[in-house]
């Protein structure tokens, strides 16, 4: 996966220049980190959903739109916007996110609907619901704190969304360290029957991954709306589920579920953002950008595919053999499988 980033890095000269503008880090790398914040968070949720339920949630952009609509509604009805207000509003939006996740989760785990089909409901109707919550408007969010969340807190050189994303990743890492979530999700994704016969409840695990996805949507929506300064229920995080699914795939995860790597998906998300920005930087015509993106993705996927990986490994082995043929037989007999004699 790291190979992919390197390929991209070769693209531009003076790529790593970072400078301070108005007291904040500015440059290509910080821009990528800034821009990819929502995608990274959503990709984490998508990885878990994919791994456990062997399908994808395509309503994440719409869920984020609904939760951020609730956030905005709460903030705007407050007479005075304090940090407390923002915190309560964001917690409220997380609760809504959980509810939306529970909706999808129930359909998938209890009613055994395929994830993509289940999330189709919110995908279709989500933005209209958000529009209703907005009072059929596009409300503006223009208070100091929102500004700071969307861009930068005075005195802190790193943009806030980047900080928020990092904190989120750390929390996820803690979650994996303190629970058996990874093992259970992988077991359920690989073989739900066997998992059940070992005492794991596949329904509960799948439901849990959708709840987590709901929270991810809420957090992503929170960041997006504060960045934008207004709530546009039509365009907020539009079609982001495509990039999220792509991030999961580029990260080396199987879209058919099972073993997963969150790190892979995170790298995948940043790679996509890097790709987007690189294409802009190369001053390609706007109409052609999508075409180039598609070509790039095809190259990435082929290079990362199992077939190519096996071929690359074989070639590497052959090169190693040609260099030192004697070392090969030594390698093969090192792993000693105990024979009956040795007992």
């Amino acid at each position: 996966m790291i190979l992919l980033i390197i390929i991209n890095l070769i693209k531009g000269a003076d790529y790593f220049s970072i400078s301070l503008v108005n007291g904040a880090l500015y440059g290509n790398i910080p821009n990528i980190l800034f821009g990819a914040s929502e995608l990274v968070i959503l990709s984490i949720g998508m990885t878990l959903v994919t791994a456990a339920s062997r399908g994808q949630d395509i309503s994440i952009g719409e869920s984020a739109t609904i939760t951020s609509a609730v956030f905005v509604m709460f903030v705007l009805q407050a007479s005075e916007v304090t940090l407390f207000t923002i915190v309560i509003a964001s917690l409220l939006s997380c609760v809504v996110g959980l509810a939306l996740g529970a909706f999808n989760g129930t359909l998938v785990s209890v009613f055994k609907v395929q994830p993509m089909v289940a999330s189709l409901i919110l995908f279709t109707g989500g933005r209209s619901i958000a529009f209703m919550i907005d009072g059929k408007l596009s409300p503006i969010l223009a208070n100091d704190i929102s500004n700071q969340i969307g861009t930068v807190i005075p005195g802190v050189p790193i943009q806030t969304p980047i900080i928020l994303t990092v904190v989120f990743i750390v929390l996820v890492a803690v979650l994996f360290k303190t629970t058996t979530l990874k093992l259970y999700v992988e077991a359920v994704g690989i073989n739900p029957n066997a998992a059940r016969l070992n005492g794991i409840n596949p329904k509960k695990i799948i439901f849990l991954t959708f709840l987590i996805m709901g929270v991810c949507s809420a957090v992503a929506g929170f960041i997006a709306v504060n960045k934008a300064g207004r709530h546009d229920s039509v365009n907020l995080l539009k079609l982001i589920m495509m990039d999220a699914i792509l991030a999961v795939a580029i990260g080396g995860n199987s879209l058919g579920g099972g073993k997963f790597s969150i790190t892979g998906s995170i790298i995948g998300a940043y790679t996509i953002e890097m790709l987007n920005r690189t294409l802009l930087r190369l001053e390609i015509e706007p109409a052609m950008i999508k075409v180039f993106k598609a070509i790039f993705i095809i190259i990435l996927m082929v290079v990362a595919s199992p077939v190519v990986r096996v071929f690359a490994k074989k070639t590497l082995d052959r090169v190693r053999n040609w260099r030192s043929p004697s070392s090969q037989s030594a390698k093969l007999t090192t792993t000693n499988i105990p024979t009956r004699k040795e007992q």
Binding site: K177, T178, T179, T180, L181, L183, Y184, E186, A187, I190, N191, N193, A194, A195, R196, L197, N198, G199, I200, N201, G258, K259, L332, T333, T334, T335, I337, P338, T339, R340, K341, Q343
Partner: protein, 497 residues
Amino acid sequence: MKDICKSFPGVKALDGVGFKLRKGEIHALMGENGAGKSTLIKVITGVYEKDAGLITLQGEPIHFKAPEEAQNKGIGTVYQEIMLCPNLTVAENMFIGRSHNPVVNWKQMNEKAAKLLDSLGIPASPTQELSSCSLAVQQMIAIARAVDMDCKILILDEPTSSLDEDEVHKLFVLMRELKERGVGIIFITHFLEQVYEISDMITVLRNGKLVGEYETASLSQFELISKMLGNELEDISKLKKYEPIVSDSITPVFEARGLSSAAGVRPFNFTIQKGEVNGFAGLLGSGRSESARAIFAADKVTGGEVSMKGKRVKIKTPLHAIKQGIGYLPEDRKDDGIIADLSVRDNIILTLQVLKGFFKPFSLKQAQVFAEEYIKKLNIKTPTPNTPIKSLSGGNQQKVILARWLLTHPEYLILDEPTRGIDVGTKVEIQKLVINLAASGMSLTFISSEIDEMLRTCSRLIVMKDREIVAELKGTELTENDVMNVIAQGGKTRCVN
């Protein structure tokens, strides 16, 4: 084939193996766990590519890059893990991938299928979904498919592991017929009696190397086993089963009253005492597995009550059963047992982890310690504890699942066909283990299609027929003849109600 070499990273699966198959010969390929039999077959049929050596077919050297090429050259294979599509019909499974004509004449296909099924005496209809057929019937359909493709060489990898005597007999009739037609058959099995009944030649592999090629008629069973195992042979008859102290006054470890399940198990009663090993005997379809699964709540329990050590408990899900100290080794290890992509280590600690709780994950170190302990205890052959379990041979996979349950120190362990598809050496190991566990105080249920295994280990045998318990045998009643009689009679004297 001469001097075939095939290596896998860290494990040389085949080392200078030679094999000869003559026209119209039934040739048995035998060897322990991981001896290389399945690998050899996969090299012959193009699933794997050999690293070194020469393969010739009728004098011409061949080099298959894909299974399809082997098929086209007349090599048909029926694998141990039935490689058919459960969601398609019987007829579709028989003819899929064979005709290059995109237009399918369904009527013709179904008629052809019906004729073939009939001629082989397979109890299935061409239009029924494959998954609705029992495992045994599915296997016979897989064989029918290979047979119909007019093969010159037919490879049968453990074809009889889930067939009963009648079905095995039918299979042998078929094999002899093919032999007459000049088809060369390679027959991999662990059933020694079958090898002696049907094969002309035997080739023995051990640890990836060729031990030798022998005429069946001139090799005694004892010699064969010693060639397969290498050194000192475990004398199976030395196994002495453990007879626990059983009396009505002692509270049984586990008791079920009127237990029924959604899998068609009719209400039955069952008790087991500490240190007892009980077996379930009966033909395929008699309900043995289903009854065991009902105890473990693997299938939905629809009625009845259970108690552990005299106390009423609720067991409605496998988790309840596990928490009460019951373990269950499933019959189908591929679909119900192994978590294929996870490592050997993760597969071993899984159930203990579930018992420990969601918020208390094992550290990598702890997990590694457990894994290595049981890899050693059960002699599991794996390159590392981190290897995905799917790369292990069937017998070693089974040992991993066994390790998983032993790690939880259950009070009562149910083993459903633990020796199916496993070599002689491991079979003996498992039987010894069962006896030792009973002696140390564990209660066990041991289900096996090989009655002699149960007779060797069980102190009590429950006979089932048509999903009902028809008899219980203990002590002096435990002889092969008695069991057979009960199974046979159980059907005739039962009243129709």
